[in-house]
Amino acid sequence: MTAKVANALQWEFRFLHKPLNVWSRVCLLAAAVTIVVSLFYPLWKMHLVAPQYSDGLDLYIFPYKIEGGGFHGQHLKEINNLNHYIGMKPIEPADFLEMRWMPFVFGLIILMTLRSVVFGEMSNVVDLFAVYSYFGTFSIGSFWYRLYEYGHNLDPHAPMHIKPFTPLLVGVKQIANFREYSFPQAGAYLLCASVLLILLAGWFSRKEQPS
């Protein structure tokens, strides 16, 4: 028994100290670049279509900002104005505090990725993956919670009463006269790609031996 635990620890110790070969480092560098590029693209898009809005109203979510489609982000104003009928709180970009610190987290992850490239040890990749997946899960959860909050804290004095609801995170949903299409965008796909690249980096060096 003791021997088994000792072996496992031994394996773990050896695993964490595996050096990263050139393929892994290339993957990690590519992951860092992908994350940087992703910042220029929206993570998410909510597209709302109604008979009166046949072209749809768009809401784009970036890591650091929320933006309406149309001229000067007009769609966000339009969505807020429509939402006042059901007593939904206006979506104010200034309210999204997480968007203030999000860039720092991205900076941290990029630095951790570059650190793995430079130090070239499996433990760096494990650190990176742990922080990244925690952050990713937390962000999606927080985003969902935001949607829940907006859909459930409705002003009881609003002209129209509708059953509290949670706008859909992913998929298509009918809300009154609007059909909501909510899907990840280029930014999110790039981030997924960066995660895959990080996993791939670990995979490529799985057979390396610590010196």
Binding site: F71, H72, Q74, K77, E78, N81, Y85, P156, H157, P159, M160, H161, I162, K163
Partner: protein
């Protein structure tokens, strides 16, 4: 069976079968083809704009081609509550004291003799004005006039090749300057007509009176401007060369030919620059007898109406009205006659070009030719008022054989219903007509439509002119009364759908309810209001009898078609404010009471709830609930301002849906 019998039977069968397929003279197959040609399915759009003049309605109508459906009305010379035109201060000021006008000939602005899609100019025959509609927002932006020394601004709006000028000629002659009184018996000596050059600012389109040419008291009718070889020239027909002042129907129809005016507007411009003018009522006036080279006359038969330059600029066609022919002038010959002084004497110092030296031919088109349009492929289309048709004929050059018998250049006749006045071929007055479509604007609909009582609309007919034979495709009705139209390809302009907030320069615009206010200064009460679905801020304005109330309303919406109204009950105010627009009205509050204001232009599900009150208290009456604009207890007026009133909480909430 004899061959003869067989033949007879075959013909009989043919007639029976042909008869089966026919309804009202058109075969079922033709009807289907025509229906498809003009059909614009729900959700699809027309290919061309048709800008009709609205005649004495004072407005411009916009229809689509090929559907011929009326799309919108652009109010110009008359108030139009539907768009709030003539109720807010700005449009009221443009209209001045007039509540009607008589729109005759719309003219699209041109660059290099092509439509540039910037402005549409229209004339007012009644009150001697001219207006500019910006195609950026399809609204009237300027009304110029009454133009000095101009009476009956009928012979306009004819744009020069690069919209340097809108050229106008007067239909009526009066003693000038206006205001001078003379006996109509002294018509020939005391009365005058005028040709006016209205200068257009190339950037803004702003119009001002440039110069005028004093003419004998003929009644100038329709005209056109030159291009190509006739660049820098303009033409008008006239009737009443007889200079009759009474019973014109008879007395102005005595001569077989009347004088048309051939005007060198560049020479006129030069004469003004060189100071060869006198000033009348503030306008530089050119006396054509003293400034040679500006004006020539050419005799044209008889009491002609239209005088249209073809797309090449070489042929100028006058409609004979009382003679069954159109007269074709060859402009190259006109220039030669001018240069060689091939004159037939002069009239009051204005040279008369020798008719035979300038005329290419008289085309026997039929009875009552009024107005001619061109398709750019060498064909002309003339409206026949008396014969009630459109006649297609071939422009010169003609063969020797055709010359001998000009009946041979008359190619086709399309009956119209009834008495076509004007017609328009798409882009006819440009160097490159679109061709394709012709619209006949008929003066009499006489039973073509379902009976709507004695007050009847006019009829318009859409004719396909792409083939050898014209094809009648569709028919529609317009309110009185189109005189002419312009056709513009839809894809050539991109009008605004809203007024962007950034471009609103109104100093009284406000964009947030926190800026909403009512302020008082003496008896001046000023409210700044925002309109947004489905509410006004403020929704209460306090004032008292005798106050002057000014209300600025900004529609803060930036969504297309989210238009709000501001109807002020029993005060004859209806403003309609487009998204991003600010409008202002001004009223003197004469009677006490509580007067609602409400959104007149349906906006949203709670449109009906979009309302407010103007509380007009009696002098000295206290209104404890007043938040704004109230009179203090001292009876004096503290300037009061404040944020918007909070939305009242509903007394009881409706039950949530199950």
């Amino acid at each position: 069976m004899t061959t003869y019998l067989k033949y007879t039977l075959a013909v009989a069968i043919a007639i029976v079968f042909a008869g089966c397929g026919k309804q009202g003279g058109t075969s079922q197959a033709d009807r289907t083809a025509n229906a498809l040609a003009s059909y614009v399915a729900p959700g699809e759009k027309d290919e061309y704009y048709l800008f009709y003049s609205g005649g004495h309605s004072g407005q411009v109508f916009v229809a689509g081609i090929p559907s011929l459906r009326h799309i919108t009305t652009i109010p110009v010379f008359a108030p139009y509550p539907a768009t709030g035109y003539g109720f807010d201060d700005e449009s009221k000021k443009m209209l001045g004291d007039y509540t009607w006008g008589d729109v005759h000939h719309p003219g699209l602005s041109q660059t290099n003799s092509k439509y540039d899609g910037r402005w549409l100019f229209v004339n007012d025959n009644a009150n001697n004005r001219i207006a500019r509609i910006n195609l950026h927002d399809f609204k009237t932006h300027q009304i110029l006039g009454p133009i000095p020394n101009s009476m009956g601004n009928h012979g306009s709006s004819f744009l020069t090749e690069n919209s340097e000028y809108i050229l106008c000629a007067t239909r009526f002659s009066v003693p000038l300057p206006k205001g001078r009184v003379a006996d109509p018996n002294d018509y020939a000596t005391e009365f005058n007509s005028m040709v006016s050059g209205i200068k257009v600012d190339p950037q803004t389109g702003e119009m001002k009176v440039g110069w005028q040419i004093l003419t004998p008291p003929f009644d100038w009718d329709l005209g056109s401007t030159g291009k190509g070889p006739s660049s820098g020239w303009a033409f008008w027909t006239s009737y009443n060369t007889e200079m009759a002042h009474d019973l014109l129907e008879v007395n102005s129809s005595q001569k077989d030919r009347d004088f048309a005016a051939v005007v060198n507007w560049r020479a006129a411009e030069k004469a003004v620059a060189e100071g060869k003018t006198t000033v009348m009522d503030g306008v530089p006036i050119i006396d054509p007898a003293k400034v040679p080279g500006v004006l020539y006359f050419v005799p044209i038969g008889k009491s002609p109406h239209g005088m249209d330059t073809d797309p090449t600029g070489k042929w100028v066609v006058a409609g004979g009205k009382l003679q069954p022919a159109t007269t074709v002038l060859n402009f190259e010959k006109v220039l030669a006659a001018v240069n060689n002084k091939t004159f037939d004497g002069d009239f009051r110092g204005v040279p008369i070009l020798k008719y035979e030296a300038v005329v290419e031919g008289e085309v026997p088109v039929g009875l009552g030719p009024l107005h001619t349009q061109f398709d750019g492929r060498g064909f002309a289309y003339t409206s026949m008022f008396i014969d009630s048709n459109i006649t297609k004929w071939k422009l010169p050059p003609w063969t020797e054989e055709e010359r001998k018998d000009l009946n041979k250049v008359v190619l086709d006749k399309m009956p119209t219903h009834f008495s076509t006045g004007h017609l328009v071929v798409a882009g006819s007055d440009t160097a490159n007509p679109y061709g394709k479509w012709c619209v006949a604007m008929n003066k009499l609909s006489a039973g073509r439509h379902v009976n709507v009582g004695p007050s009847q609309p006019e009829s318009s007919q859409l004719i396909d002119i792409t083939g050898d034979k014209m094809k009648m495709v569709a028919e529609s009705y317009t309110e009185p009364e189109p005189h002419f139209a312009q056709i513009l390809k839809v894809s050539e302009i991109q009008p605004a759908e809203i007024y962007p907030k950034d471009e609103n320069k109104d100093p009284d615009a406000i964009w947030d309810k926190s800026q909403a206010s009512v302020t008082r200064n003496g008896n001046q009460v000023v409210a700044k209001v925002i309109a947004i679905r489905s509410r006004y801020y403020p929704d209460r304005i306090d004032a008292q009898v005798g106050d002057d109330l000014t209300v600025h309303v900004t529609n803060v919406e930036q969504t297309r078609d989210m238009i709000h109204g501001f109807g002020f009950i029993e005060h004859n105010i209806n403003m309609v404010i487009d998204p991003g627009e600010t409008k202002t009205f001004h009223v003197n509050l004469k009677k006490p009471g509580v007067f609602p204001y409400y959104c007149t232009n349906f906006c949203s599900a709670l449109h009906q709830e979009m309302q407010g009150y103007v509380v007009v208290a009696n002098a000295g009456q206290q209104m404890p609930g007043a938040k704004y604009g109230l009179v203090s207890a001292e009876g004096n007026a503290p300037a009061e301002t404040g944020g918007a009133s909070p939305a009242p909480s509903p007394q009881s909430s409706p039950a949530p849906p199950p």
